[in-house]
Each structure stands twice: as C-alpha cells, then as structure tokens.
C-alpha cells in the first residue's frame, strides 16, 4: 500500500520538534474468523505542544492506534511500522524502559472514568500512585500531590475528595480526576481517548475546558481521539480522519472543516448537528455500516457507502493513496479529492432527497452489527427504538448506538451502572 510512502522523511509532518512519530503502522488481532487489520498503514507526527485529533467511527482503528503507542493491548500484533518517541522506537524498547515512559512522559486519559478508575482505591491514592511510581514520593507526599492535582483540575474541596472513592464522584468529576491523574507527572504527551463520550452533554464542555487549560499549564501535546467533530473544532490544531484502519484525510482543523477533500469527512460533518442551526435543517447520516476489517471492500474501503463513488469505476478497483491535495500539508485518500473542492455541508444537504434517503435507511439499518453478545430480545427491541430515534435525528446516531462496549470491540455486559448505553438524547 502506498500510505507509508506519504509520510516519508520528506513529509511536511517531520518538521521541527517532533515528539512522536508513527511510521507505517500495521497492526491487528488474530480472531477466530481471521486477522483483523485494525490499523492498516497509519503514519503521523505529533509535535510538542500541539493537539492532534484522530477522528473516525468506532471500528475505524483510532483507539487501537492510540493504544499501540503505550502498548496497552497485549493481544495486539504489530505487523510492521515504528513508533518513534523522541527519536527512539517504543516498539523495540525494553519493557522496563517503556514502563518508564508510560505515565511519566506519555499519559493516557480513558473514555469511561468509572470503569477506568479502580473502584476499591481512593481517588487520591490512584492519583498519588503516579507520583510514587515515577518520582519516588512517599505516601504522604503522594497524597499532597494528589490534592494539588485535584485542585488543579478544579475539583472543590480537594483534600476531602482525595479520600473518596470513584463511585462517590459524579461523572464529570471522575473524568477530572482521571485528567488529574494523567498530568501528575507533567507528561510531554497526553493521549485522550474519547474523554467526554461517557459524560453528560452539559459536563462535556467543562471537562474539555479543563483539558485545554491543563494543556496550557503543563505545555504538553495531546492526541485527542474522538468521533465527535464538535469536540475537535474547539480544541485541535490538526485533524487525522480514519476509516477502516486507514488515515483518509489529514490537515489543519480549518482545512478539514472548511476545505474538506474526502467524502467520508464530508459525511461526518454533515451528520453533525449545529447548535446555531434553526433546527429545521435535516441532518445527513452516513448510511450503511463500517466495513469488516477482516475482509475489506475492494478498492476504496469507503466506496460502498460513498455518495460520490464511481461504480463501476476505479473507486471499486483501486485503493486511493493518501496524497497531498491542497496547501502544504492537507492530504486526502480519494481519487476524486479535487472534485470535492467547493462542496460544503450545506450544499451536500441540498443535494439529498430525504424521502428516498429514509427508504434507504430502512433497508440498510437492520444490518447494524453493534449489539452485544447475549443481548436479550427486549434489549434488541430497545435498540431498535434507539435506531429509529437516530434515524429521526441522525446526528446522534453514531453516538447513541456506538461502541456500547467498544473498548476493544465487543466487551459485554456493560456494568449495570454504566450510563452510556441509554443516552439517546435528542
């Protein structure tokens, strides 16, 4: 494949002060059905102080990409590629060296703070542990540090809170605690995996704000993994869009939002509800479901769902390479990227016959594959309800039914207290 070539040494990404550089990463999992190519030739750089957003649907490989940096998925098999951290390949490092990087230089903020925090230890202890591991603080000092960190992320009464357990925190507070934990050692890079997804809409903004403030405070780079372009807009400098394990469009935030060069990105944008919209403007869903990563469609992996695909044509036969399409660093992997110049979300919307679309949705939706293992009949029904809702308000569809156990693909059952599943808010 050709992606790897794009981020060769001549790539515009390999400029000054690169912290992390992922090169030609191919990795996946062996399953009963075959090898899942979760990351299929991804390359990118992260520079000191920047915020890189990796965007995609669930199953696009964005989380796996992030996880591979810290090596947190023992079952992940890395086929090829390298991950240079300050010039050293993390993948060939000794386990001890790599452990020294974890937490101290690269820290992680997980999606669901309720399950990501250990329920049997106090929040203070879990935060302090970071300092104890990497800075050798004693118990008391560690606690002081934890209190300090909690204060920093804006948790009131940090001294009291430090002695409480995660379940005694509200969702937003938990995520703040999670952030506090991640920044304890002032890491150079923060990887935030869907940091706000599990939170109520009202809290999301607050948490993002904390994240931005912190970034300024400790001057670290951030890799923000999200499916939510709304989050990206306010936070990221640059955006990497992933689909089916590939990076399909890369550029600055403005480039991605306003000079979109890939139909998929355009689709994502069109399905995004806008708070400033009058409300009568219909949202446009991306129909169909993400492709199997075991048996990818031929040609462009996106072509079965693409409104602009030429079928039959090279979309079906040739896999488009990621290539420079505009400016000095705006790249996209579409044979017809140039033709998209000028197509905006608004114009896209006006193109669509919604009634025909609705009929099409009815046909395609039952294939929705995201249900959990032992889903009961009734839950299936509830899911159908959610899907119906989503069809009426497509903007939330991705979220409403997205990875309900989606960490590694299929974990289930969810914790009973897990709030994510039910959020089918309009």
């Amino acid at each position: 494949m050709v992606d790897a070539a794009v981020t060769s040494s001549s790539s515009p990404f390999t400029r000054k002060d690169v912290l992390l550089s992922m090169r030609g990463m191919r990795a996946g999992f062996t399953t009963d059905d075959g090898f899942v190519r979760a990351v299929d030739g991804v390359s990118f750089d992260v520079q000191r102080g920047e915020v890189l957003a990796i965007v995609g649907e669930s199953g696009s490989g964005k989380s796996v990409t992030a996880m591979s940096i810290l090596g947190l998925q023992p079952t992940l098999e890395i086929a090829e590629g390298e991950i240079l951290w300050k010039g050293t390949d993390l993948l060939t490092m000794s386990e001890d060296d790599r452990r020294a990087v974890r937490g101290k230089e690269i820290a992680m903020i997980f999606q669901d703070p309720l399950t990501a925090l250990n329920p049997v230890h106090t929040v203070g202890r879990q935060i302090g542990e970071m300092a104890r591991i990497h800075e050798g603080l004693d118990k008391k000092q560690a606690r002081e540090r934890a209190v300090e960190m909690l204060d920093l992320v804006g948790i009131p009464e940090p001294r009291k809170r430090a002695d409480m357990y995660p379940h005694e925190f509200s969702g937003g507070m938990r995520q703040r605690a999670m952030i506090a934990m991640a920044i304890t050692c002032k890491p150079d890079l923060l990887i935030a995996d869907e940091p706000t997804t599990a939170l109520d809409v009202t809290v999301q903004a607050q948490v993002l704000e904390v994240l931005v403030d912190i970034k300024d405070e400790i001057d670290s780079a951030i890799i923000l993994i999200t499916h939510d372009l709304g989050v990206v807009a306010g936070l990221a400098n640059r955006v990497l869009v992933m689909y089916a394990g590939r990076s399909i469009e890369v550029g600055t935030t403005d480039e991605i939002f306003y000079e979109t060069r890939h139909p998929y990105t355009l689709g994502l944008l069109a399905s995004l509800p806008r708070l400033d919209d009058a409300g009568d403007e219909a949202l446009v869903p991306i129909v169909g479901s993400p492709p199997s990563l075991i048996r990818k469609p031929s040609g462009c992996a996106f072509h079965p769902r693409c409104r602009f695909a030429r079928v039959p044509g090279n979309c079906q036969t040739d896999d488009p390479a990621l290539r420079l399409v505009a400016g000095d660093a705006h790249m996209a992997a579409c044979h017809y990227a140039e033709e998209l110049s000028g197509v905006t979300v608004e114009s896209l919307r006006s193109m669509i016959d919604f009634e025909a679309e609705a009929a099409r949705i009815d046909d395609t939706l039952p294939a929705e594959p995201l249900e959990p293992e032992d889903e009961s009949e009734y839950e299936a029904a509830l899911r159908d309800v959610a899907i119906a809702e989503a069809a009426a308000h497509p903007g939330v569809m991705d979220r409403g039914v997205r990875d309900r156990g989606g960490r590694d693909g299929s974990e289930w059952p969810a914790q009973p207290e897990d709030p994510r599943d039910g959020e089918v808010a309009p």
């Binding site: 990563l293 889903e375 009734y378 839950e379």
Partner: protein, 305 residues
C-alpha cells in the same frame, strides 16, 4: 424521547437471535457462535467427549459390562486386575469393571436429578428473592441461612432416617440440601440484572413481573447458573461418597461409585483397585463437568478470551 409502541416492541420476534459479537465480523446466530467458541476450546471438547463417552457407557452398560452387578464367582474375592476382570474383583468376587460401568447409570442419574431438583428450588426461591426483594427476600434469605448453618450432613442423616436408604432418597437428600448456593447466585444475578436498563424499561412499559422474570431476567441469569450447575453435578456425585461414609449412602448391591469408593477405603494397601477404579470414574466425571463448565463460561462470555 418517544418510545415505540410497547405492543410492537414486545412482539419482536423472540426467535430473533442477536448477531455476532464483534463489530468487525459478520453476524451469525448466537447459539452457533457459542458452540463455535466452545468447540475451539480444547479442554472443553475433551470434557464433552468424556461426558459423551460416560453417557454412552451408561446407556449401553449391559452391552459393555462382561458381568452383571451381582454376578460373583465364589472364592475369587479381591483379585487384582486381569484379563478376566479388567478392574479386578471386589470383596465378594464381583467384577469391579462391570460395576463401575453400571455405576455410570446410578451416579449420573443421582448427579443429574439431584442437581435438577436443586436448580428448580434454587431458581424459584432465588428469583423470588432477588426480584421482589422486601419481605419475601428477607424471609427466603433467612431460610437459606438456616439451612446453610445446619451442617448438611446432619440434615442428610436426618432425612435418610426418615426416607430410608435408596437411590431416590439420596437424590432427594442431595437435591434438598444443594439448592442454597444456586438460590444465592440467582438472587445475586437478579439484583444486578434488575438494574439494567432494558429491565427497567420493561418495567416502565408495564410488563407483568412474571413476564419480565421469565423472558428478560432468567435468560441472562442462566449463564452463571449453568456454569454452577455443571460443577454442582460433579460435587453431588462426590457427596454421595460422603453420605456412604457416614452410613446413609445407597445400599448394596447398588453399584454407586461413591459407595464403592467407601467400600474400598480400607483396601488401600491390600486391594487398591477396589478404591482406585470407582474413584477414577468419579474423577473423570467431575473433571469432564468442570471442563465443560469452564468451556461454557468462556463460550458464553467471550470477553474472557
């Protein structure tokens, strides 16, 4: 948020099995999926094979056993294994191999029926307790407390004194003393499942409680129960040995494995085959159930992979 018409929702075809587990692969029927995963587990398949062999042995015992269970040769007591008597002979010259073969019938019957009784009692009481809570919960839990607190061997001896000693009595004894753990597990599953949204939603939609229990909670609680059950069968077969030890086991000439082990326990040094072969039969049975139970758990719960 508008929910779909409850009637329609409820009418969703119950035969519709949810699709495959992963968002990556194609969907396929749930049962087939479990079976596929089960089949890939080597130990589970070993267990299943052993189980099938045991069941076949039980069914075809008369064809396999060279002698009858009471058939004896005078003057040939406690002979070591030979071609005539593969597992040797017992205290009065009966063929141990034949008795072990016929014993598969008795011991499997005891194991399965007693576990079934425990299951029924445990399921009913556990679900009542877990779902309704309140007084019925307190009451049922107090009762299980009482029964857990009274050493089961004491109960067993007492029941045996009333019922006499027969295979059926053993089944009843073990069934009546074995439901406590199941009731607690069911109750615990119910407590956690009850809080899941779909159950809450079903409640909100006004479904009858019986329906919710039967169609929504029980199927989900089944998994731990099935696993517990497979392990319970093994321990029931073993408990039969303990009952024999305290003198309330099945009586002669019933070729129950536990009773045979008990009869052979004083023969460790002079006729170890009397102890070894029925003991090995219990071991193989317990092991097969354990393997199957483990395999089932893994297959039903793929996140453990």
């Amino acid at each position: 948020m508008t929910l779909a018409d409850p009637a329609t929702t409820a009418a969703t075809d119950s035969s519709h099995e949810p699709g495959g587990p992963d968002e990556l692969g194609a969907s396929r029927p749930f049962r087939a999926d479990v079976w596929r995963r089960f089949r890939r587990n080597r130990l589970a398949m070993v267990g299943l094979t052993m189980m099938v062999v045991l069941v076949l042995v039980a069914i075809f015992a008369p064809l396999i056993a060279p002698y009858g269970i009471t058939e004896r040769t005078a003057g040939s007591a406690r002979q070591s294994p030979s071609l005539d008597h593969l597992f040797g002979t017992d205290d009065i010259g009966r063929d141990v191999f034949s008795r072990v073969v016929y014993g598969a019938r008795v011991s499997l019957r005891i194991g399965i029926l007693a576990t079934a009784i425990s299951m029924v009692i445990g399921l009913i009481l556990g679900s009542l307790s877990g779902f309704f809570g309140g007084i019925s919960d307190t009451l049922i839990m107090r009762v299980t407390d009482v029964f857990l607190a009274i050493p089961y061997i004491v109960l067993a001896v007492a029941i045996a004194t009333v019922l006499g000693r027969s295979e059926n009595a053993i089944i009843i004894i073990l069934g009546l003393t074995g439901w406590l753990g199941i009731a607690r597990i069911v109750r615990a599953s119910f407590l956690s499942l009850k809080r899941l949204e779909y159950v809450e939603a079903a409640t909100a939609l006004g479904f009858s409680r019986r329906r919710i229990i039967a169609r929504h909670i029980l199927p989900n609680a089944l998994q731990p129960i099935i696993i517990y059950g497979t392990i319970a069968i093994g321990s029931v077969i073993l408990a039969e040995a303990a009952l024999s030890f305290v003198g309330v086991g099945p009586q002669e000439p019933t070729p129950a494995w536990g009773a045979m082990v008990n009869a052979g326990r004083g023969r460790l040094t002079n006729a170890p085959h009397m102890l070894f072969f029925p003991g090995a039969a219990i071991f193989v049975t317990v092991l097969s159930f354990v393997f199957i139970g483990d395999g089932l758990r893994d297959a039903l719960d793929p996140k453990l992979k």
